[in-house]
Every structure is written in structure tokens, then in C-alpha cells.
């Protein structure tokens, strides 16, 4: 069969979407594939691989969105991934998305793809922006000059979709190509030709790779190209040597770097094409972005705009988002009720394993789902910041500070998402480190984002502050919200100058994008996507882990004697109940087998009444219970019926007796559980930080999900819960007689702040670093640091007899001084380096 015949038969084409960053590749991708897409990783590396497809009749076009790169060299991971994909997969068409507003630079990329001998279709994107800047592009001329199809598109508005699809169709069905533009390398041509001839010596290589491209890459001294030639060509080593010597010859002859020369040749051609195709209205007025930046990036004003932005994000997402959870929580509570009703009914003093396990899992999932509204708002705001172009400016403003601590200007976004001041989540924070080009900073950011104050840490903070630092509340909250960022910076510095020292770094070279108005669709899509990712990743993992925690708390369970004891207590209570109601006419309805269902009904009713809001809600609960249980309702709510009142009172007594017994069982169970054993066995070590076994358990269980710390404490400190005391009062009471004071609290606070990321975040560390070892490190290292800090502060405080608040101030002062010192040392050393290069004219 001829090659043409094959083409006609084929009904599945591979299209690679390539282009520079910020050229609107993603919008073009969305425009082509619509909803039909999924994200994966390229094998072995953590670079996103977006794959989607669309159909035209019987023909299926599979679109792969390559990472955005400025060129196709082998210096960065993204570039290597893109290039490898093109070389290995050999797509049928490469759709090159170009930014019409900076055509000259975009052409630089196009040339490289053309040099690799791929059929190219150009999507000239952002035509609307170009027009608004008074730039007009002569498409016909550009098509003629490049020798490939050029389609004008406006990706954000979906314009040019059909034309682009038509061009792709034409391109894959075309039998022969018009010869695309070729770059003339003038003086280098001799060398290129010579190398190409040598490479042609091995016939198999020419099938796999375009030879002219290989020859040019050899002259550019590209590592991967050298590797290809050395391994795949019989005389590989010799050719590489030859290329090197030719390279040096050329440099000696012309006194220009070969790489520079090649770039200059491409640039000259790009310049010629731009001169011929682009006409710009000569307007002297400043572009709008520049006019905005004159204020927003003003040296003196920039920090204020930045603070205002962070404050607005905080106010809208955390404060207002929290308001929203008031509406969403009842939905989650209802869901729990539904699950509770499906499950086997509650036992008298002990529930079946299935019931308690399922409810436990629902509860853990609910606590996390409760944050969804907050995250949605947060992600939407972040998407707006990113789309508008302000995010890049934040990086610009803060780079110097972050850089002194070994981080990168682009670490700002992860820190904001992680919750700089209060509220946030490390999971999206770690997710968003993807964009940081500097690997060392990227890892340091991934490892320090979990120190931020995520939403789930707040309950424990407020709890401890309310009990132990009530008089210095505002100071304590200020301490917590700023000490974490200070510690994160110090630890980032420690990491980057020790374990991460050998990692690659990249300079801060960032294009400052123009301001764009973000689109509703884009923002909604991105925030939904990220929220869904949160629900999915966190949901599955946390549910799985909560199961482990549950088993650790549940087993080995109580001994038979203890259970017998509690059962005896319960039967006593039941006997009392029976004797009380025996005389009543309702006696037959409530004794024997009927007692337990009634008791459960009573508890359900109480809970439903508690969850209902307002008089109407209560009435609705009443009527629904009445409808379901016409005979028994009078016992739940005796109105004027004296006999029923007696039963009701006995029922209430029985219910509270049962609750207190259940609580005692639970407490004893935890104490004797595997978890309890772990907590106790850790006491000898944790005593240096002042933690007793209860705190140990709470802290360990908070690894599964931070919220559980307070929940676990609630179970552990339940003396007095029957008297309707709050957890604060209960802990306060208990701590009085076991000697816990504000110093203990400070140690717990510090440990909690520096403690390893929760499980979901640790998994995210694994996903983002692609290594289990890093994940392990992310667990072990902060534990060591946190415990070290907590014990030092506690032991020192004890030794000098200082109170919690004094130690808090002292610690803050020391940490702040260390951070300042690091920043100053960095400043002096970098100034000294710069000073050694000062230009002195004669």
C-alpha cells in the first residue's frame, strides 16, 4: 500500500499542541477538545500531560497539549518532555499556538518545530489583544513566508475554531507539503552540510530523526542530541568529536559563539518576516498594562497593594466562605442522618462494628467536605489573580525576600494557598508548586508549605488560646499567624543549604504578562477543577486513613469482664426504667424488646430537634416523627398526658445514663487501644515537651486529618460533658489537677505548627515530587524539628520558671532575629558579589 493510501485509511490522528508560555495554548486546547479531555503525567516525570480528543465524522483527532516552552532545547524538564514526545510519537500535525502580540519571539519557536520536519499548522492566537494594541498581521503574507497554514484565532472567545479544525484536516490529508521556510545559517551552512552527510552514513538514523536538525543541534552542543548520535550511530563518537572541532573552528574564525550565531540567524529571519507581515499603528500612548503598573508596581506603593490583595483574599474566602458553610453544613448533617438510618440500629451500650465504622468515616469525610465552599471561593480568587497577570507581579515584588531564604518569587502562590495568615490548605498549596521553574526552591516550597496555618489547624489553636492565653488573645493569635511563616522561611533556608544543596536551581527569569480581564468561564472551570481535585484526592485518602485510625482506636477493645461490668450497669438502669413505667398504661409499649427501638427513636428525635432551626423547622420535625410513629409520638412529646410524661421522664433518664456509659466505654477503649498504648509508650520521650498520653494521641491522630486533634481531645477530656460544659472548661478543669499550664499549651502549639503535613498533604508531596523518599522525609523531618523546638521551649521555660506568654515572646524574638540575620547575611553576600563586578570606566 502506498503512503498516501495509508493516510486515507487512517481514522485516528495524533495532534500535538505546542507553543510558548502565555500564548493561550490551554484555551486553544479547550476550544478544540471541549469537555473531552483528561490529565495524566508523562511517564516517569511530574509534568502534566493533557490529552483530549474530538471527532469529525468517523475520524478521531487526539490532541496532546505539550508543556509550554520557549524553545525546544534540552535545558529544562518541560522542554525535554516536549521534544521527546515529538521525536518519539511523531504526531501527524503540530499545531503551533502563537501569540500575535509578540510574533517575533513566537516565530523563534516555530522555526525550531519546522526544523524538526513536522507538518505544522499555526494558530495565531490573541488577535483581539493585538488589534487593541494597534497591531495588524497580514495573514496571507505570513502564510506565504512560512509555507504553512496560519489561522487567526481568539482562544478565549472560541473564535477561529472551525477554521483551525479545517486547517488540521487539510494538513493531515495533504499528500505533499509546500516547502516551508528554511533558515539560512550563512557561514555555518558548510559545517551543517558536512555533518549531515556524515550522519547519513547510517541509514537507520535518518528514518528516526531529521538529519539537518541533528546536525544543527550538534553544533549547538545539545546534550541530548549528542547522546542520540553517540548511541544510535555506528560512528557516533567520531561525529560528535567532529562537530565539536568544527564548532571551535567556527568560533575561532568569527569570534562569535556558535549558539549565539545560530540564534541570531533565526532572529534575523524572524525579524524579516515580522517586518513584512506586521504593521503597527504608530501610537505614542502607553499600553494600558504599563499605566497600571506605574502605580501597582511602584517601588513605594507595591507592598500596600500586595497587602490589600492578600487581605481581600482572606476576607472573601475565609471569612465570607465560612459564612457559607452555615448553609452547607445542614446538607452534610442530613447526609449523615440518612447514612445513620440505613445502617443497622444502634445497640444499647455498644454499636455494631459496621455502624460505628461507617459513621466514623462519614464524620471524617464531612469535616473535610465542610471546607468546600471556602476552597471554591479561594480557588476562584486565585484563578482571577493568575489570569489577570497580578500573580506574576506578586512574585516580582516578593522575590527578593523569598530568595534570601532559598525560595523563589513564585513560592508566593503556594504559601497563600497554604494559608499564610489563617485558613487555607496545604494540598492545593503543594499542587500549585508545579509552576516554579527552580527545582531547589520548588522542593523547599513543597516541604515548607505544610507549616502554614491551614484551616484545620485553627480549631486547636483557638481552643488552646482560649484556655491558656485568654488574657493575651490577640497577641497569641498574632504570634501563631506570623511565627509559622518565619519558621517556614528559616527551615527553607536550612533545607536549601543542606539536603537540597545539590539540586538544580534556576534563575528568576520571568516574562511579565500583560494584564488581561479574566473570563468567567475560565475562572469557574479552574476553580471547579481544583476543588474537585481536592475532594477526590483528599476524600479517598482521608477516608482510607480514617479507617486505619478507627481500627487503631477500636482494637483490641475491652476485656470481657469490663464489658460485663458495663452491661450490668446498663441492665440496672433498664431495671429502674422498667419499674418506673410498669404501672403506666404505656408499659406494654415500652418494655422488653420494644425498649431499645424506642430509646433510639427518642435519641433520633432529640437530635433532629437540635438540628432543626426555628419554630417552623421544629414543627416540621414533630409532624414527620408523628407521621412515622403515630403510637409512640406521645411518649416523645407528652402534651398534657400525665402517664406519658412519666414514661418520657424515665426515658430521658435512661437515655442520659446510656450516653454516659457509652462515653465511659469509649474512653476506656481508647485508653487500652493500640493507639492508647502508642500514646503511653511515647510518654517517656514526649515528657520533655510536656505532652501526656492524651495529647500524644490527639497529635498522632491529627496526622490523618488535622481536625481530628480537637475531636480526639473532645473524646479524651469528657469529664463534665454531661453538665453541658464546653471542651474549654473541661480541659481547663482537668488540667488544673494534672498540672497542665500555659507552658504546656505553648509546647503543643509549637509542635502542632511545625508538625508534619496531614496525610492528604503528604500524599500530595509524593505526587508532586514523584518520590516516596521525599514523602518520608516530609514526615520525619518536621516531626524532629517540631519536637525539638517544643521540648527546648518547654524545658527551658521550666528551668527558668517562665510562663507560657513570656516564653512565647522570647521565642518569637529569637526566631525573628534569626530570620532577619539570614536575610541580612544574604543581602551582604550578594551585594559583595555584585560589587566585585562594578564597572569603572577608565
Amino acid at each position: 500500500m502506498s503512503a498516501d493510501g495509508k493516510r486515507m485509511m487512517k481514522d485516528n490522528f495524533l495532534i500535538a499542541l505546542a507553543g510558548q508560555q502565555n500564548a493561550g495554548k490551554s484555551t486553544t486546547y479547550n476550544m478544540l477538545t471541549g469537555a473531552n479531555q483528561h490529565v495524566a503525567n508523562y511517564p516517569g516525570v511530574t509534568v502534566d500531560k493533557k490529552v483530549g480528543s474530538y471527532r469529525e465524522g468517523k475520524v478521531r483527532y487526539e490532541v496532546v497539549d505539550l508543556p509550554g516552552t520557549y524553545s525546544l532545547t534540552s535545558f529544562s524538564l518541560e522542554e525535554r518532555v516536549s521534544r521527546e514526545f515529538l521525536l518519539e510519537e511523531k504526531p501527524d500535525v503540530v499545531v503551533n499556538v502563537m501569540d500575535a502580540t509578540c510574533l517575533r519571539r513566537s516565530l523563534y519557536f516555530t522555526f525550531q518545530v519546522l526544523e524538526m520536519n513536522f507538518p505544522v499548522t499555526v494558530a495565531l492566537n490573541m488577535m483581539d489583544v493585538a488589534e487593541s494594541q494597534g497591531i495588524s498581521v497580514d495573514l496571507k503574507e505570513l502564510t506565504a513566508r512560512l509555507g504553512v497554514d496560519v489561522v487567526a484565532t481568539v482562544g478565549r472567545k472560541g473564535k477561529g475554531k472551525q477554521a483551525l479544525k479545517a486547517a488540521i484536516r487539510k494538513s493531515v490529508q495533504q499528500e505533499s507539503y509546500s516547502r516551508p521556510v528554511a533558515i539560512d545559517y550563512n557561514d555555518l551552512e558548510v559545517h551543517i552540510q558536512a555533518l549531515e552527510d556524515m550522519l547519513a552514513g547510517d541509514a537507520s538514523l535518518g528514518v528516526l530523526y531529521p538529519l539537518r536538525w541533528l546536525a544543527i543541534k550538534l553544533l549547538e552542543n545539545d546534550t541530548e542530541a549528542r547522546h542520540i548520535v553517540e548511541t544510535k550511530h555506528a560512528d557516533g563518537k567520531m561525529i560528535v568529536e567532529e562537530a565539536l572541532s568544527r564548532r571551535l573552528d567556527f568560533e575561532n574564525e568569527s569570534d562569535v559563539d556558535t549558539g549565539d550565531y545560530i540564534v541570531a540567524c533565526r532572529d534575523r529571519l524572524a525579524g524579516e518576516i515580522v517586518d513584512a507581515c506586521v504593521s503597527k499603528e504608530d501610537d505614542s500612548k502607553q499600553p494600558i498594562s504599563e499605566r497600571i503598573d506605574r502605580w501597582v508596581l511602584n517601588r513605594a506603593l507595591a507592598p500596600f497593594f500586595l497587602l490589600a490583595t492578600v487581605y481581600i483574599i482572606y476576607e472573601l474566602s475565609i471569612v465570607q466562605g465560612y459564612e457559607l458553610t452555615k448553609y452547607t453544613w445542614p446538607i452534610l448533617a442530613k447526609f449523615r442522618d440518612i447514612v445513620a438510618n440505613i445502617l443497622p440500629a444502634a445497640g444499647l451500650i455498644e454499636d455494631s462494628l459496621l455502624r460505628s465504622m461507617a459513621l466514623w468515616m462519614v464524620d471524617s469525610a464531612n469535616t473535610l467536605l465542610n471546607y468546600v465552599p471556602i476552597f471554591f471561593i479561594l480557588f476562584a480568587l486565585i484563578a482571577i489573580l493568575e489570569d489577570s497577570g497580578y500573580m506574576a507581579r506578586i512574585a516580582f515584588i516578593l522575590d527578593r525576600i523569598f530568595h534570601s531564604f532559598g525560595l523563589h518569587g513564585q513560592s508566593t502562590l503556594p504559601f497563600i494557598l497554604g494559608g499564610v495568615f489563617a485558613g487555607g490548605c496545604a494540598v492545593p498549596g503543594i499542587m500549585s508548586t508545579k509552576g516554579i521553574p527552580d527545582e531547589r526552591s520548588r522542593l523547599a516550597t513543597i516541604l515548607t508549605v505544610p507549616f502554614m496555618n491551614c484551616l484545620a489547624k485553627i480549631p486547636l489553636y483557638t481552643l488552646l488560646v482560649n484556655i491558656y492565653f485568654a488574657e493575651h488573645k490577640s497577641w497569641a493569635m498574632f504570634f501563631i499567624s506570623t511565627i509559622t511563616i518565619i519558621m517556614a522561611l528559616i527551615i527553607a533556608k536550612v533545607l536549601t543549604s543542606t539536603v537540597l544543596k545539590g539540586r538544580e536551581t534556576a534563575p528568576f527569569i520571568m516574562e511579565m504578562p500583560n494584564y488581561h480581564a479574566p473570563t468567567m468561564f475560565g475562572v469557574a472551570q479552574r476553580s471547579l477543577e481544583r476543588t474537585w481535585e481536592y475532594i477526590k484526592k483528599v476524600g479517598s485518602i482521608v477516608v482510607a486513613v480514617s479507617l486505619c485510625v478507627f481500627s487503631l482506636l477500636q482494637f483490641p477493645g475491652l476485656s470481657d469482664e469490663r464489658m460485663d461490668y458495663y452491661e450490668g450497669e446498663m441492665s440496672k438502669a433498664v431495671a429502674v426504667f422498667d419499674s418506673k413505667v410498669a404501672a403506666s398504661p404505656y408499659g406494654g409499649l415500652v418494655t422488653g424488646d420494644k425498649m431499645l427501638p424506642l430509646l433510639n427513636l427518642y435519641d433520633n428525635y432529640k437530635r433532629a430537634r437540635m438540628n432543626s432551626s426555628g419554630r417552623e423547622g421544629a414543627a416540621r420535625v414533630d409532624s414527620s416523627f408523628k407521621e412515622a410513629n403515630p403510637d409512640l409520638f406521645v411518649l416523645l412529646k407528652p402534651r398534657g398526658d400525665k402517664e406519658a410524661k412519666v414514661v418520657n421522664r424515665a426515658l430521658r433518664k435512661l437515655s442520659s445514663e446510656r450516653k454516659s456509659l457509652r462515653r465511659k466505654i469509649k474512653e476506656e477503649k481508647i485508653k487500652t487501644s493500640f493507639f492508647g498504648m502508642i500514646g503511653r509508650s511515647l510518654e517517656p520521650v514526649t515528657q520533655y515537651a510536656g505532652f501526656d498520653w492524651k495529647v500524644n494521641i490527639a497529635l498522632i491522630s491529627s496526622f490523618a486529618a488535622r481536625e481530628s486533634s480537637v475531636a480526639t481531645m473532645g473524646v479524651l477530656y469528657q469529664q463534665g460533658a454531661d453538665d453541658n460544659q464546653t471542651l474549654e472548661q473541661r480541659m481547663d478543669n482537668e488540667s488544673e489537677h494534672n498540672g497542665m499550664n500555659s507552658l504546656h499549651a505553648l509546647a503543643v502549639l509549637l509542635f502542632f505548627a511545625l508538625y508534619p503535613p496531614c496525610l492528604a498533604a503528604t500524599i500530595m508531596v509524593k505526587v508532586q515530587t514523584g518520590s516516596w523518599k521525599w514523602m518520608l522525609f516530609a514526615i520525619v523531618f518536621p516531626t524532629a524539628v517540631g519536637f525539638g523546638v517544643a521540648s527546648t521551649v518547654f524545658t527551658l521555660g521550666n528551668a527558668i520558671g517562665a510562663s507560657g506568654i513570656t516564653m512565647m515572646k522570647g521565642f518569637y524574638f529569637v526566631a525573628f532575629a534569626v530570620a532577619l540575620l539570614i536575610a541580612l547575611v544574604h543581602k551582604f553576600s550578594s551585594d559583595r558579589v555584585a560589587a566585585s563586578y562594578v564597572y569603572q570606566p577608565e
Binding site: D257, D399, I509
Partner: protein, 110 residues
């Protein structure tokens, strides 16, 4: 494929990486031979790029972004703390740290 982040297998990458240095012009060229660097251009001023002293990825990225010898370059502004500089080259803005900026040699416009 190698794993980029596996710091325990350091030699997989960095070993190969380090050799890449001679992609650009010889590094560490004596300072006294240098002329004006970008840092010597006042904010708001402009100059023409003469050559790069950086190597490897930095040099490549700069060339990709249009920092080609012979191009006019303008210092738009510096950040609050004086470190990243915002430069305009070929009609768009790029930010650089001082450590990269002083490796770009410039000459006055003619």
C-alpha cells in the same frame, strides 16, 4: 526515564548536568575585561546588548526570550527591595535578578 526529584540518586542527573557548562561562553572570564553591565543602566534608561557572560540554561532562556546581541534593552523598573529588575526587550517585559543582570554586557545606544 530518570526521576527528577530523587535526591537520593543524585548522580543520575546532576553528574550529567554539571558537564553541560561549556554550552555557553567560557565562564568566569576575568572581570576587568568587562564593560558596562545591565546594572549600570539607570532605571528608565536603555542600552544595546553586546554579549552574555552567563552559560547553560540561563543563557539559553535569555536568548529564547529575545535577549539577542544587538537588541535594544530598557530598564523599566526595579522591585521594592531593589532586586528583580523589569526589562523591556522587543516589546515585552521580562524580569531578572541582579545576579543575572550583571552577566549581560551592554553598550550605549548609537
Amino acid at each position: 526515564m530518570f526521576n527528577k526529584f530523587d535526591f537520593f540518586d543524585r548522580e543520575v542527573f546532576s553528574g550529567r548536568r554539571r558537564k553541560r557548562g561549556f554550552g555557553g561562553r567560557k565562564q568566569g572570564k576575568s572581570c576587568s575585561m568587562r564593560g558596562k553591565s545591565l546594572l549600570d543602566i539607570p532605571v528608565g534608561g536603555s542600552a544595546v546588548i553586546r554579549r552574555h557572560f552567563s552559560g547553560g540554561a540561563v543563557r539559553q532562556r535569555l536568548l529564547d526570550l529575545g535577549f539577542v546581541p544587538g537588541r535594544k534593552i530598557e530598564v523599566v523598573r526595579v522591585a521594592t527591595l531593589g532586586c528583580p529588575l523589569e526589562l523591556r526587550v522587543a516589546g515585552y517585559c521580562v524580569t531578572l535578578r541582579r545576579t543575572e543582570a550583571y552577566q549581560i554586557e551592554v553598550e550605549d545606544e548609537r
